[in-house]
């Protein structure tokens, strides 16, 4: 006997046959099947092996609560492990594998774990593998030695190693009412809200809307439930203010009624359509939320309750009614409430034989008796299932009389069945409510946790509220014809034979946590629900304990002799069910990152520039000519700057307009040096500190008018400096009349540097002189180049005679072309970041590599910039004892004595061969210096200047670079600055 397709019935499309493979075996199913229903239809009941004991397991539920039937879905090179078979819609070509079995599902070596009896109880690994207290494998080392083997034996599916090639996307949704769940309560809520003119989202995790009405037999308004669902859906679909979201699981409830939802757009297709994402992540902001999330049926815990063929009663009924599949041909029902009687009748109507209905209660309602009579089979009241047998699927069950919560010895009977449908009562799906509410409340009558009082704007509807009937879900205005059954269960969670050794009784099927594990946790003192969960891992598997939570708590409560209400429950945290990381990241990686390009970008690329990403900016690293290495290129470029003239794009520098009557006063406060004394049309180098006296950023600021300054910042810190200025103006000195505006993108900039720089400008600038009198060092003039207005400031980063030429961004390329044309006579060379870096290293100018958030101005020998005449941000803290200590790491120059390249980040040590833990500092920037003909670097080293002339060593084990260096002044080249002042 095995499960099979019923001869008729179900909502599947029997005219469409779909092929799929399970562990390499070709099978078929129909459109509308899930993988679980299709496997059952093919007679497959053994679907996976359990986590710890490798016990055979089959389908246990028909929904998102599935703990057992996990498989790996294979699409091309991609493997997605641990997907419940109940959640996989069948498509033609679906390929899946079973998990946690070796060498095969039917014969599994790991099943020997099961024979080891109670060895693998809760805490087993901790207790066993903490190891001996002495010896080479003591303590955690022993655990690490064993861990590899344990992880291979225990576990779930195996993820693939291929990159995920699927697309994912993000959506933001805004609505008046978000209805979560599309059962009768959700549909009614959505229809009512839509009728009020509200903008409504209706999210349903399953592919089809309708919830339990898809498989429960109720008549609504005198017609079949089907008809009512179809007409309601048609009505909703026609409304412009309603959005239906099937295959969308709302997984998290966050502040201000923001909810996260995952829409599985094409998991149910063999191939995505062009441009279609696999998953779409929704962030939904709803004014109001209606939680109509329904309820989960829960099992009863009894010995041998995990064999394939044992499943939830509602799941068995759903397979029969919705999928036209008989989960067994001869079925037993085991219940503590009436709802399983309805399931029995559904199974009988679909063609199965009901062998026996076993109920722990001594008496049941009239409605239940009537259902039992119609379903056929024996009705055993006051009985319980006490054991099961069958190797790879259920073959036989044993029942014994049961009263007052105990088994009565004697009177054992056995039934040969191939399916046991179990119902231990219903638990409202309060997961989202518990994320947005107070502690859930235990209800004695329903023996379940009811939704808590909300802390956000939501209301509940239907089974979620603990009203489980269809009539209650639809409200008073709609007539429903359904059996008037009693949902309140008897308070029986576990059947526990006393006095003899019995089979394992599982509470958490996915993590193989048994009832005796919970009692063990209790004996060992792990009694609070939070401890219980962590010690036994109860409810921590991928199903998050949807079926095991309440039975587990009930068993702990019994062990402690307390009512469940006093034991409480753990808090349900998001996500409600698995969310793909791809959907959370969506397009935030890769090609959707914004790119900042300077006005001259295309020119650089056309000239063979190798571009370098500096934050969001793209900057030329070198302009490679055929066959040059990077080093050859930057050395050629830097040498040209020293010998004749070069030009570099500096448009990326941060530029902030600082304007207003108090602008000069403001700059005095944020810079360490004085700006109020700066004459109009002059620029000054400035240094900013953070409040604690650490260097923050540097740059030149130009006084364009009495109340008008242009501040430049480093490329990387432009945003941070802007925010820093805004903070002080808004929060600290609101009385200052100053306005700051970011103008980085408004200006294009080119620096022209080298002995011939002035000649270049002289031959292309109109409207102003640029000789030393008209444009001295740090002077500013305005003129035109090629008819475009420009502002020119004479300042130097390279140490050469140099000018920064700024023009409106739209004129950037035009002015650049004019400068290139003017420079032709002098063999002007465009240079990139590498040459720029080389020139500044030779000069010992600092950048972000040295202003790294740890260095003080003194560490960088910039104390000459600290004004004594006025306070500034950081002035009170810059003289702290710790920042004056003699062993601070300070700026030095480094020369490689072995004529080999150095590396940034390499450590400087006093003796060769030492590990970097003996480090006295590190290299911040390095280059081959064409001016010196040596490999040089800047470094931050303990003691700084005091070490000049000393021999030290570079130690870079990662790149295997060791060798002697000399510590020298960081002013390698032209320390007097005669070239830039010339």
């Amino acid at each position: 006997m095995s499960p099979r397709r019923a001869h008729n019935g179900g909502r599947i499309d029997r005219s469409t046959t779909l092929r799929f493979t399970f562990d390499g075996t070709a099978m078929t199913g129909h459109a509308g099947d899930t993988l679980a229903s299709a496997l059952l239809a093919n007679g497959i009941s053994l679907i996976g092996r359990s986590f710890k004991y490798h016990r055979p397991r089959g389908v246990f539920s028909a929904g998102i609560d599935e703990p057992n039937a996990l498989v790996t879905v294979i699409k091309g090179n991609l493997r997605e492990p641990n997907v419940p078979a109940t959640q996989i819609e069948l498509y033609d070509g679906l390929t899946v594998e079973s998990q946690n079995r070796f060498p095969s599902l039917a014969f599994d070596i790991g099943a020997a774990n099961g024979l080891a009896g109670n060895l693998f109880a809760a805490g087993f690994y901790y207790k066993t593998f903490m190891g001996p207290v002495a010896g080479p494998l003591k303590g955690t080392r022993f655990w690490m030695f064993c861990e590899h083997f344990i992880r291979r034996a225990a576990g779930l599916g195996r993820a693939g190693h291929e990159p995920d090639t699927d697309r994912y996307e993000k959506m933001y949704g805004f609505c008046d009412v978000l209805v979560v769940g599309s059962g009768p309560a959700g549909l009614t809520a959505a229809r009512d809200a839509a009728a009020d003119g509200k903008k409504v989202f209706l999210a349903e995790q399953e592919p089809e809307l309708g919830g339990t009405l898809r498989w429960k037999s109720a008549a609504i308004d005198g017609r079949p439930a089907d008809d009512w669902v179809a007409s309601t859906l048609a009505e909703l679909a026609a409304l412009p203010n309603v959005t239906l979201l099937p295959r969308t699981t709302v997984w998290g409830y966050y502040d201000d009624n923001a909810l996260g939802a995952l829409e599985r757009v094409c998991d149910h297709k063999a191939h995505a359509a062009i441009g279609e994402p696999r998953h779409r992540h929704w962030t939904i902001r709803a004014k109001d939320v209606v939680l109509a999330t329904g309820a989960f049926e829960r099992p009863i815990v009894f010995p041998g309750n995990d064999r394939p063929g044992i499943m939830l009663a509602s799941a068995a009924a759903r397979y029969a009614t919705e999928y036209g599949v008989l989960p067994g041909e001869r079925i037993a029902i085991f219940a503590n409430n009436d709802s399983a009687y309805e399931a029995a009748l559904s199974l009988k109507d679909a063609g199965a034989e009901i062998a026996v209905i076993i109920d722990v209660r001594a008496g049941v309602s009239v409605a239940a008796r009537e259902l039992a009579r119609e379903a056929g089979g024996e009705l055993l009241l006051g009985y319980a299932v006490t054991n099961t047998s069958g190797a790879r699927r259920l073959r036989e069950i044993e029942v014994q009389p049961f009263a007052d919560g105990k088994i009565r010895e004697g009177g054992t009977r056995a039934f040969v069945v191939d399916c046991l449908a179990v119902s231990g009562g219903w638990s409202p799906a309060i997961h989202l409510a518990s994320q947005a509410g107070h502690a859930p409340q235990w209800d004695e009558a329903l023996q379940a946790f009811l939704p808590p009082a909300p802390t956000q704007r939501w209301t509940g509807a239907g089974a979620f509220t603990g009203a489980f009937s269809t009539a209650a879900a639809l409200g008073d205005d709609i007539a429903v014809n359904e059996p008037e059954i009693e949902y309140d269960p008897a308070p029986v969670f576990e059947i526990r034979p006393s006095g003899r050794k019995s089979a394992k009784a599982f509470v958490d099927l996915q993590h193989d946590v048994t009832a005796s594990d919970i009692r063990l946790a209790h004996r060992e003192g792990f009694r609070s629900v939070e401890h219980l969960k962590r010690y036994t891992t109860l409810g921590m598997a991928t199903d998050q304990g949807k079926s095991s939570n309440v039975p587990g708590l009930a068993i702990m409560a019994a062990a402690r002799g307390l009512p469940i209400s006093q034991v409480g429950t753990t808090r349900f945290r998001p996500p409600f069910s698995g969310v793909s990381l791809g959907a959370l990241a969506a397009d935030r990686h890769g090609h959707f990152k914004p790119e900042r390009l300077t006005p001259m970008h295309d020119w650089h690329v056309a000239r063979g520039a190798k571009m370098y990403a500096a934050g969001l900016w793209h900057r030329p690293m070198i302009y490679g000519t055929g066959g040059e290495t990077v080093e050859q290129a930057y050395v050629r470029e830097a040498r040209a700057v020293r010998e004749t003239v070069g030009i570099v794009d500096v448009s990326t520098l941060g530029k902030i307009a600082v304007q207003g009557p108090d602008a000069a006063e403001f700059l005095d406060r944020v810079y360490t040096n004085m700006f109020s004394t700066l004459p109009v049309n002059k620029a000054r180098y400035g240094l900013m500190l953070r409040e604690e006296g650490i260097a923050f950023d540097d740059g030149t600021t130009w006084r364009l008018g009495e109340h008008d300054f242009l501040m430049t910042t480093t490329t990387a810190n432009a945003g941070k400096v802007m925010q820093h200025l805004e903070y002080y103006l808004d929060c600290v000195w609101p009385e200052l009349r100053v306005h700051v505006t970011s103008v980085t993108d408004q200006w294009a900039g080119a620096a022209v540097a080298g002995p011939n720089a002035r000649h270049v400008l002289e031959s292309c600038v109109d409207g102003t002189r640029v000789d030393n009198d008209a444009l001295p060092f740090m002077g500013i003039v305005r003129g035109e180049i090629g008819g475009a207005p420009v502002t020119i400031c004479r300042l130097s980063f390279s140490g050469e005679l140099a000018y920064e030429v700024y023009c409106g961004a739209g004129h950037g390329q035009h002015v650049w072309d004019a400068l290139m044309a003017a420079g032709r006579t002098f063999e002007i060379v465009p240079y990139g970041l590498e040459a720029l870096g080389t020139l500044r290293i030779e000069k010992g100018h600092v950048t972000g590599a040295e202003i790294d958030g740890r260095t003080s101005p003194r560490d960088l020998y910039l104390d000459w910039m600290l004004s004594k005449k006025k306070p500034y941000v950081g002035s009170a803290m810059v003289d702290r004892e710790g920042l004056l200590a003699a062993d601070r790491i300070r700026l030095v120059g480094i020369v490689a004595l072995d004529d080999r390249p150095l590396n940034g980040g390499a450590h400087i040590v006093e003796r060769l061969g030492e590990e970097p833990r003996g480090s006295i500092g590190h290299i911040t920037a390095f280059c081959f210096s064409p001016a010196l003909g040596k490999y040089i670097a800047l470094a931050i080293v303990k003691g700084g200047k005091a070490r000049h002339g000393q021999r030290a060593y570079v130690s870079d084990p990662v790149r295997n670079r060791f060798g002697p260096v000399e510590i020298v002044s960081h002013h390698f080249f032209d320390p007097e600055g005669s070239r830039m002042h010339g």
């Binding site: 966050y254 903070y727 009170a876 702290r880």
Partner: protein, 87 residues
């Protein structure tokens, strides 16, 4: 979390940048009292409850706001322009 910017209206948290505790007062800039500066720069009260803090609407109007927010529930009790309320 939504912050109701007095200029732009209610906006998502992702548009804002946290800019620190708004309870502290910057010492007189001429003061050399190291303990006062140390307290200003480093010492913070880890409030469980209503907290007065600066947020900048960096992805919007760029104004700094003084927000009173419960650190226990994220409930926002008040929002005002820092320029109008700063001490």
């Amino acid at each position: 979390m939504l912050i109701a910017c007095p200029y732009c209206g209610p906006r998502d948290l992702s548009e804002f940048t946290y800019q620190g505790d708004a309870n502290r007062t910057r010492p007189n800039p001429m003061s050399n009292d190291q303990s006062a500066w140390n307290a200003y720069v480093y010492e913070r009260v880890n409030t469980a409850g209503d907290h007065r803090e600066f947020w900048q609407h960096s992805g919007g109007c760029r104004a700094h706001l003084v927000v009173i927010r419960s650190t226990l529930t994220h409930e926002i009790k008040s929002v005002a322009f820092a320029r109008e309320t700063a001490k």
